[in-house]
Each structure stands twice: as C-alpha cells, then as structure tokens.
C-alpha cells in the first residue's frame, strides 16, 4: 500500500461512519450504497465515498449491478479483520503506477496482436478514435492521453505515465484511473470490431489479457484490474 492510499484508508476508517459502514457490510453481505445509507440513515453519496475509499484500500470487493435505471456497484467485506501492508521508507511504485503499467502494457500488446494477425490499421484507427473520444470529466484523461505515445511504443508511454502520476499524485485516484482505462478499452474494442469483427476483436483482447494476467497475476487480483472489462470479455477468459 502506498502512502496516499494508506492515509486515505486511515481517514475513512476514522471518519464518523467508517467502521459502521464496514459493520453493516459484514452483517448484510453484498450491498449497494443506498441500502447501507438507508440502514445508517445517512446520505447515499456519503456511503458511496466511504465505500470507494475502502475499495481502493482493498478492504472490500465490488461488482457491477444493474438497477432499474442505471448500473451501480455492490460491495462485500473481504474479511472481518483489516490489515495494512505497508513498508516504511520504501520508494515503491505504488498501485496507481503499477496498475497503469498493467493497462498500458495491455493496450500495446493488444495493438501488437492486432498487427500480428495483419490488422495494421488498428494504430491509425485508434489514434483517430481517441481524437474525438469522450472520457466525460475524468480528471485523469488529459494526463493519461498525453502520455500515450501510440507510435513511439510501450516503454516510452509507461515512462511518461509513471512520471505524470508521480508529479500529479494528489490528483490521481484509482477509481478515476480505472474509469479512464475502462473507456479507453471500450474504444480499443470498437476500433478492432470495425476492422475484424466483434468475435475476432474479443479474441484479440482475451488473448492479450490472458498473457498479461499471467505476468501480473498478483497485482491484477489485488487491485481488481480486470473489473474494467465487459462481462463478455471476462466470460471468454474463464472458458
């Protein structure tokens, strides 16, 4: 755990509702923020903020849930005991940088795989798609996009994004980071699909995820890095 996340976790735990929220999760099992908020008689936004921080700290798991009008997350307490894994004074890259490395590697491996099967137009297609891409008001998007050097290659992009996260660490949050890559890979899939069809596009992504996952298995599990992919991508992996 890096310093930023450690202090966020402590702040959330020591906040007015931190332990109460975890206790409700312990007794209820999988729950959405509004259920917890109703039980504690607090605002849903307040419960959501706590849950998001607990998720970043690795105390809870989450999965997507389709409600009547929108999609939300439901959460689950990982363990009734909370542990901190932190090494004092170590200049570790931190989960934000590691996670970015995972996603950027995956992006370039996906491009490489598409090129290897003969679809060289993917780079050009992706560059065009990203010019008009809509990342909402995700604060990470401008930083991360400026670091993606699609023609320069993977190593250069990883170096740039690592430096940017170190410089802008206070502005970067794991939830935003994942949202950025979730949208980015949606565009990747879309561009691939336009060139080689949905099934082949899914196979390209699944093949590269399986290869990357082997390399980063602990990180991917700890940080739930595969959560950003659509269900059909993940289901194909499990087959």
């Amino acid at each position: 755990m890096d310093r930023k996340r450690f202090s966020e976790a402590l702040e959330a735990l020591s906040g007015s509702y931190g332990l109460s929220i975890l206790d409700v999760l312990r007794s209820r099992g999988w729950s959405i923020a509004s259920d917890i908020a109703a039980e504690l008689n607090i605002h849903t936004t307040t419960a959501s903020k706590y849950l998001s921080k607990f998720y970043s700290a690795g105390f809870v798991e989450r999965r997507r849930k389709r409600c009547r009008t929108r999609e939300t997350f439901e959460y689950h307490l990982k363990s009734e005991r909370i542990r901190f894994d932190i090494r004092i004074g170590e200049d570790e890259p931190g989960p934000l940088i590691e996670s970015s490395q995972f996603y950027v590697s995956l992006l370039f491996d996906t491009i490489g795989k598409a090129q290897k099967i003969g679809w060289a137009l993917i780079t050009q297609g992706l560059m065009e798609a990203l010019q008009d891409a809509d990342f909402g008001d995700n604060p990470i998007a401008p930083i991360a996009l400026s670091c993606l050097d699609l023609q320069g290659g993977k190593d250069n992009s990883i170096r740039l994004i690592k430096r940017a996260i170190q410089e802008e660490v206070d502005e970067v949050d794991m939830v935003d980071l994942k949202d950025f890559y979730r949208t980015l890979f949606r565009y990747v899939l879309q561009v691939c699909e336009e060139g080689v069809g949905r099934n082949t596009a899914l196979r390209i992504l699944q093949t590269t995820i399986a290869q990357s996952h082997k390399k980063y298995v602990d990180l991917a599990r700890r940080e739930h890095l595969l959560d950003i992919f659509p269900k059909e991508v993940i289901d194909g992996l499990e087959e």
Binding site: K113, I117, G118, W119, A120, E194, G197, T200
Partner: protein, 240 residues
Amino acid sequence: MASKSERIPTGIPGLDAITQGGFPESSVNLIAGPAGSGKTLLASQFFFNGAKEFRQKGLYLVLEENRQNVARAMKDLSMDVSPYEEGGELFIIDLGEVRGKEGKQKGTVGFQDIKDFLDSCLKATGAERLVIDSLSTIGLYYRSIEDLREELFIFSRFLRQKDVTSLLLTESIEGGPLTRFGVEQFVADSFIVLGLEEVRGELRRTITVRKMRFTKHDTAKHPFLITSRGIEISSGEKAV
C-alpha cells in the same frame, strides 16, 4: 453467359484463356488439390495480380500457415506484398493467431466467426478479391458432414451477397475424394481441381476446370509448370 466485363481476371498465364477471361464477378470459387499441387500459389497470384495489374484490393485469410510464411512464399516468386500492404491495397490476415489452444473446437474457427470477421473487414478494407486458405481447417470445427454442408451453403450465400470474388481452398487426398470433406464443390460456383500425377517417374502438375457457372469453359486437363514467375498453364496443351 457472362460478358467479358463481368469477369475477374486472375492474371495467371493460361488460366484466363480457359475460363473466358477469369472468374465470374462476385462468384464463389473452389480450388482443390493435394498438398504441393499449387493451390496456395494459384490463390496468391490471383490475390497479388489483383492489386498489381487490376487495381483491385485483396484480402487473404490465413487459417493454417502463419502470415509471415505466406508473405515470404509470395516474395520468393517475385510477389512482394509489402508495398501493397503499406498502401492499404492488400491485407493478409492470420486468424490462427487468435484461435484458442485448448479444449473442444477451440483450435479452430467456424463459419460464423469468419462471417463476423468478413462483415467488418470487407467493409473496412474495400477488398474485391478474397482468398480463404483453407476450408479444411474450418471443416474441423463441425461434428458432422451435414452440419458442415449446411453452414457452408449459408456461408457461400453470404459471400455472393458481398461485392467480392472469392477463392476457397480445400485439400484433397491423393487417390481419395476430390475435396477434403466431399461436399465443398456442391456449393461453389466454380470448381477447379489441381492434380499431381506421376508420369514416367516424374511428378506432373495438372489443372482441370470441372465446373464454372455462367462460363463456357475448357474442360480438358491441362499440364502446368511452376516457374520463377509462378504458375504457367499451357492452355493449348492437354495432359494425356
């Protein structure tokens, strides 16, 4: 009968002469032959000549070999696809790269996957010539010949609806049926058989156009040679 303007010439010396100028436009054509008979070479020339001589974009779908081997084999016969690939005129796509490796049917792709792929790829590339190398691999996806025949029939209808002239390659076993599964020829518009026969201790290559819709084609078995320029068919000579 098709007029000359509706033919898609192969650019292969001799072949266009015995087929009234090439394959009918937007037709589905089957090329069968045993290993080493020249199927891939014939398809490569159709593909490469399309871009070089007739300004037609082409898509070569590799299912057995890898794309590097196919491109290298073409280059060895003076068909360097690199400038055409860079120019977006020729595309060699290797779907074998994303096939699953384990479990039932995971090592193969079916016609549904190929249709899904072609639906997007033909549109994105604007290809007018298509080669599928080969049906033998796709056939392994199906549990029964009936399933294969039905899917192949649907697939050939799908291809005819596209503005593309297709060559489907299939293997035949020496001394056995003309095609790998014995059903491929029934759904194609044309059926060309390449042969490899021993004559006085030497192997001789032959080509026979057994069927070609909309075409008054030559039905004789012709000998052909593979030279440094590829396949050259002696259209005036018959194999006896």
